[in-house]
């Protein structure tokens, strides 16, 4: 039996490819598969400084896991899974683990494209960012303007973004195709969400939350692939909006509730784990089905949260810049989810914790307009640094269950960041670079300083070299509303 709370093996990583490292399977340690990490020498050194590799080894012990537990190049220490961890379990009886998805279910990003060059809006940038910060509640515990009745909340949970568009006119019907799973994940079941979770979520729709969540105004500053950029509707100097937030307190409570349920149930299924936070049961079990229904519903709530924020942003753009300034939804992608996906003959439950999908040009799960080019893969940098849009490859299915990193990835704790960076100095530095910043406190600004993150350029290069996705454009920030 595995011992709770102990890392079972000392991580020894062996290079097996230009950007791939492996800890081989060790049966005596309970590993069912090897662990693999996508990284170059520098990133693997950074990743090895915290406990994330040990956490990834713990993931290899999940019942039903196939091929490998995978770490993305932005991987860092989390709880249960590392952040940037990916694992597929073979259905019907492979497990689902709420700790493999995390508390912020479907924390994700949404990219909106204007048809405007930055020079046209530069004189109004300050007003634009200011109005966005007023229209979109940000910061911990802030509640939104879109208080929901229980019927509406159930509609959001069960039917996702199509419900908001149809019943409340929030956003456009054309948006739906450009949201992962159409903004409504099959299997969502509001009846599996506790009253407590609904209470936490009922006034939080349309809010950013705190931590690393943000709303950014960005500009296309480099195009790497002209053809793909054209097909995705990008041009140099184009103003874009990137929104990063998730399912707020509702999602947090869903995870809390179901970790508790599975922690108590795992023993009945003969499941013993090295970390209790990996609590899991077979997806086919009553507990597994209940969590899956609740998790999908919470994911719908997160899609709707970003839909409401995008709607508010559109209103602000029209009010400040005039009617012709519209914002087109490029793509909305989830970070923290588990999804049923087919790879070859196998139906898997693919857990992505701080990781996104990166489906290739042949996938029938991506918008028709993007067939032949690939799913947009959105990789935000740290605050004040570049973000990237890539497109997934067909090879990514074999490489990483079509999974990609979700950002630069933290390299430093919040405390360490605050000791090295003074918030007011950082604010001035960002402003001196022409970046308009709105943040509740200088302290919270310092916690998200670029120095606290890995080098996003290096992370994105590894993604491309590993064959997971290829670069299309780079964006630089000009306005930041920090959550």
């Amino acid at each position: 039996m595995l011992e709770q709370g102990k890392t079972q093996v000392t991580p020894t990583l062996r290079r097996i490819g230009p950007c791939l490292w492996e800890a081989e399977r060790r049966l005596e340690a309970g590993m069912r598969v090897p662990a693999r990490i996508f990284a170059d020498e520098d990133l693997v050194a950074q990743i090895s400084r915290d406990r994330s590799v040990g956490q990834l080894l713990n993931v290899t012990t999940l019942p039903g896991i196939v091929r490998a537990a995978m770490g993305m190049p932005d991987m860092h220490e989390g709880y249960g899974f590392p952040v940037g961890g990916v694992a597929g379990t073979l259905l019907p009886d492979g497990v689902i683990s709420p700790g493999g998805i995390g508390f912020d279910i479907n924390c994700g990003v949404r990219l909106l494209a204007s048809e405007t060059r930055f020079e046209e809006i530069a004189p109004r940038l300050e007003a634009l960012v200011h109005e966005v910060s007023r229209a979109i509640p940000a910061g911990y515990g802030r509640h939104g303007r879109q208080a929901l009745s229980r019927d509406d909340l159930d509609g959001v949970l069960n039917e996702g973004v199509p419900y908001l568009v149809r019943e409340h006119g929030l956003g456009l019907p054309a948006d739906l195709e450009f949201i992962e799973s159409g903004g409504a994940i099959p299997g969502a079941d509001a009846s599996q969400i506790s009253e407590r979770a609904k209470t936490r979520g009922e006034d939080q729709l349309g809010t950013l939350g705190g931590g690393n969540h943000f709303f950014e105004v960005q500009v296309v500053d480099t195009i790497y692939d002209d053809g793909a950029a054209r097909q995705l509707g990008f041009f140099a100097g184009q103003v874009m909006i990137l929104i990063h937030t998730g399912s707020r307190g509702l999602g947090h409570q869903v995870c809390t509730d179901h970790v508790r349920i599975m922690d108590r149930a795992a023993e009945r299924y003969g499941i013993h784990l090295p970390d209790r936070q990996l609590a899991c049961t077979p997806l086919s079990s009553p507990e597994g089905k209940s969590y899956f229904g609740a998790m999908c519903a919470a994911a719908n709530f997160a899609f709707c949260n970003r839909q409401v924020i995008a709607h508010r942003a559109r209103q602000v753009f029209q009010r400040i810049l005039g009617g012709r300034h519209d914002l087109r939804l490029v793509y909305d992608v989830a970070h923290n989810t588990a999804k049923k996906e087919r790879y070859g003959d196998e139906l898997l439950c693919v857990h992505r914790k701080g990781a996104t999908r990166a489906f290739g040009p042949s996938s029938d799960e991506i918008p028709t307009a993007y067939r032949g080019v690939g799913q947009p893969v959105l990789i935000p940098g740290s605050m004040g640094t570049a973000s990237y849009v890539l497109v997934g490859t067909d090879e990514s299915g074999d490489v990483s269950f079509s999974s990609c990193c979700h950002g630069a990835g933290r390299a430093m704790s919040r405390g360490a960041a605050k000791r090295q960076v003074q918030g007011h100095v950082l604010r001035k530095e960002l402003e001196s670079r022409g970046i308009v910043v709105r943040c509740p406190t200088n302290q919270e600004l310092a916690e998200e300083a670029p120095i606290a993150y890995k080098d996003v350029d290096r992370v994105v290069d590894v993604v491309q070299r590993a064959g997971i996705a290829r670069k299309v454009i780079r964006l630089r920030p000009v306005g930041v509303v920090k959550g």
Binding site: H76, Y79, Y140, C255, D263, A416
Partner: protein, 144 residues
């Protein structure tokens, strides 16, 4: 924050510990009840709540869990829920009864206009309540 608890534990302490992506609270106390009370205090600090002195809200808490570690996680997650759902800053956590698997407490607080709660949840990750030479200790990773 005012803090009281039954039991004989005269001292307890905590610190907010470093974690790459999250936060951890490290606890030490001379009794189990003091450990749990100190955990609530540490959580309140990690939440970044605005201190309040007078209470205008209180709620009874009764929890049951399979073991001591799970009871501590449940206790902290109960406080996270109450802070966010009731929109309060805590003023007093009174643990009235505790056993290995059960906890009863009264939580008092003050309603606040903009409640701050940096903590999403408490986790089991690496948690192991231990006793050595009369000192109880635990480290809890919080998702923030």
């Amino acid at each position: 924050m005012a803090q009281s608890y039954t039991g004989s534990g005269p001292t307890a302490r905590h610190e907010i510990a470093e974690h790459t992506g999250e936060l951890a609270i490290r606890l030490e106390a001379r009794s189990v009840v003091a450990l749990y009370a100190e955990a609530g205090l540490a959580l309140t600090e990690a939440m970044g709540q605005t201190p309040a002195s007078t209470s205008d809200w209180q709620e009874r808490v009764a929890l049951e869990a399979p073991d001591r570690d799970a009871l501590l996680v449940d206790w902290l997650n109960e406080l996270v829920f109450l802070a966010e759902a009731r929109k309060v800053a805590f003023t007093a956590l009174e643990i009235e009864r505790i056993s290995e698997r059960q906890l009863e407490a009264t939580v008092r607080g003050a309603h606040v206009e903009r409640p701050r709660n940096l903590v999403k949840a408490a986790t089991f990750h690496g948690l192991c309540i231990a006793e050595r030479d009369g000192i109880w200790s635990a480290t809890v990773v919080l998702d923030v």
